[in-house]
Amino acid sequence: MTSATSDDTGVGAASWEVAAREFAAWRAGDRAALDRLVRLLTPVLWHLVRAYGLDRESAEDVVQTTWLALVRNVDSVRDPQAVLRWTTTTARREAWRTARAGKRVDVAEPQTLDAALPPVGGPDGTVLAERTARTLWRHIAELSERCQRLLRVIAFEDRPDYASLSTELGIAVGSIGPTRGRCLEKLRGLLAADPEWSDRRD
């Protein structure tokens, strides 16, 4: 077990509803609601975009572009309930497109990230101990690129749009569920075989 105590696996049902509420409030004229919406969803978009292997600068560009697209095409989001899916799907599509266009893609290594990292540990104490995180990172890196991408996406997006995900992963819609199962199984096996993982105390 991990030390995580929050029920939030990324965009849980709660964030879904909060996003819809802020979006509706913003549409009704509350400018501060847009601020809250951007702060709520920007970290989620970041992780989705990084799942496509873009370097940090390109990932930032994609996140900016996604928000601009939302504000410019606000009328295309008829139902506030759809705002989360609209932004996450737009961000993933743009990230996929950018990565395919051969923009700077990097294979991030924790070591190379060190310099850019803030001190480990979140304000709510839900982040993993750094050593545990690194162990997990190392094993995820052993998975196929497709598994890595899929797991990062579903770790941050509860119910991703399967049609777009299917195109981006190059697998049939019907294969996403089974692939997800296989990827998690593989990861579980790798972790089970690693004493550093089973002995950890967060």
Partner: protein, 152 residues
């Protein structure tokens, strides 16, 4: 055995720990969304040159942004405590109208015919450069181009 949800939570926390979003990313998004008129092209960061002499008094760093029809190379150097100088070079060169957005207001200048412009004494904080279509300039722009905000 760890169930799927627990494992995904661990994956979630792991990425949040080892590859978190830049702390000011949401602020920078909101800075861009604060533009009055959203009819512009957002430039992309093309290249960053690492600061030279990062700890010395003569810190300078250069970044290049690109749009469809032009690029702009921007060098930022310190001009005093919490004060910066911005030197820009638009290519292809042209006498375009250039705005610098800061949290405290907008500064305006005009590039010379070679596309060079400068802003002196810029306080620390987020800034964003906007280049406008300008009559008489040799570079035809059909809408403004805007850099992503950068932290000085």
């Amino acid at each position: 055995m760890t169930d799927d949800l627990t494992l995904l939570r661990a994956v979630h926390d792991m990425y949040d720990t080892l590859d978190p979003p830049p702390a000011d990313l949401a602020d920078r998004v909101l800075f861009t969304l604060g533009l009055e008129d959203l009819e512009f092209e957002l430039m992309r960061l093309q290249e960053t040159l690492q600061p030279v002499g990062a700890r010395g008094p003569e810190t300078a760093s250069t970044v290049t942004f690109s749009a469809e029809s032009l690029t702009v190379m921007v060098t930022v150097s310190d001009s005093g405590p919490q004060r910066h100088r911005i030197d820009g070079w638009i290519a292809p060169g042209g006498a375009l109208r250039v705005e610098l957005r800061t949290p405290r207001g907008v500064h305006e200048t005009q590039a010379d015919v070679d596309g060079r412009f400068a802003f002196a004494e810029v306080p620390s904080g987020l800034v964003q450069i906007m280049i406008h279509p300008t009559s008489g300039a040799t570079v035809p722009l059909h809408r403004p181009v805007v850099t992503p905000p950068v932290q000085l």
